[in-house]
Symmetry: C2
Subunit: 242 residues, 2 copies
DNA sequence: TCGATGCGGATTGTTGACAATCTGCACGTG
DNA sequence: CACGTGCAGATTGTCAACAATCCGCATCGA
């Protein structure tokens, strides 16, 4: 019984979760274009599983807002327009500022620990930047912000933010204008860390606002379908109040 | 072709959604106690449907955080402790304050319209209060706050808030101490409306903070399982960042 | 007596087949 | 030629059976 500690828990994650993760990555990468139909049977045969798990995975992504299900018609990749991008970034700012408020309000030791965690992430960002790996840069960027929110210690905010982070990644893929000048990315995050370390909440709010503001003109010209908005999927996460 | 306009779109909502709604209500009502197991086959036979839709409905509620799925074991009603209640109310304050910031920042006409919508809801609250129908009072209460968030016009915030509202309702059922003195409920909401109407953001923030603050001592003695916290369900909504 | 081990019951996970529903096109009719 | 109608194809929605997995308990050995 010596080597047991070297064994890592086998992650026999449910098939549906694996499929959902894979599809999510494909959507983020842009392998599925917005508006594309995602066929249950097709995906199932491609992955050599039956339609059951695929169906479950698709519904999962529908609830996340990545896919849109039209009853008896099919599920389609949700189309994002400039308004969606603005919504996502505005919502992110709401949650991140709240997290920042909590984190900066703590004592210096805890702020220091949080700053260290974030610094480790930014170091990886720097590496991705040096390598010119922009997709990875984007992912680590969102990982940074997710970690910031996680530091607030409110799992409900985590849950809400996770969805937004995924949507933001998609926005980055389809709206190149939404991402700031790449050379500013790493320094910008280091600034956020310093504000966490020093515990200056107002400054952090300002920096986050700047960090997450999406200028309309930056988006202009990238919007695929203009003003057209879809309603929320019928089978949404929570029933509307009666 | 005269009477067609009187016809309302038949809402043949998917079976799974209907089941999910029904289960959600049962959980809110307390018909399922926290920790109880919810058996797929049992629910299916009770509702005269196969396990498929039931399974889908359960997974839906797991993603909402109402149920906890233990792989190959079963799904159980999520147990809430005082910490969860605090989290839910803190997260609600975050989102509602953000919504308040947006709404109060608009011009007087739009604020007035929002206030009118909210007033209609509070009037129904008053009716529930007069009737002594506390469960209904709680639901309309959350409906009020959901409407406030909806007025901000950010569907991402709506989505996040919907889950929190459901969890808050469950908290109200299982932690009677979380709800303020009932006679204060209606006046408290009318105060919020007035602050929306007058557009005084700081005051609205203060009022919301007061409205949503959960005193530890109010909760004390209602917590079923003390400090024991469960991890998030493995099959959670969004994969952890790599 | 205490701990490991194998077995049985229960529950979820998965599958393939069948039914219901919707859309788009071709056809017939005024 | 315009409009309504019926059909065909495709896709999701639902179902019941099978397989895999896990927990709890009885058993066995030191």
């Amino acid at each position: 019984m010596r080597g047991v500690e070297a064994l890592s828990a086998i992650n026999s994650r449910p098939t549906a979760v694996v499929i959902a993760d894979q599809l999510r990555e494909s959507i983020i990468d842009g392998a599925f274009a917005p508006g594309d139909q995602v066929n249950e049977a097709l995906v199932a045969s491609r992955l050599n599983v039956s339609r059951g798990p695929v169906r479950e995975a698709l519904h999962r992504l529908v609830q996340e807002g990545l896919l849109l299900a039209r009853p008896n018609r099919g599920v389609f990749v949700q189309e994002l327009d400039a308004r969606d991008v603005a919504e996502v970034f505005a919502a992110r700012e709401v949650i991140e500022c709240a997290a920042g408020e909590i984190v900066t309000g703590r004592d210096a030791d805890r702020r220091e620990a949080a700053a260290d965690r974030l610094t480790a992430i930014v170091d990886r960002m720097q590496a991705a930047f040096d390598a010119g790996d922009w997709p990875r840069l984007g992912r680590i960027d969102l990982e940074f912000h997710t970690a910031l929110v996680a530091d607030a210690g409110n799992s409900r905010l985590d849950r809400a933010y996770a969805t937004l982070a995924t949507e933001a990644l998609i926005c980055l893929t389809h709206f190149p204008g939404a991402y700031p000048e790449r050379s500013n990315v790493v320094p910008g995050h280091r600034e956020l860390i310093e504000l966490v370390r020093s515990g200056t909440m107002e400054e952090l709010h300002r920096a986050l606002h700047e960090h997450l503001s999406v200028d309309d003109h930056r988006l202009h010209g990238h919007d695929a379908d203009g003003d057209l908005r879809h309603g929320r999927p019928e089978g949404d996460a929570v029933a509307s109040q009666p």
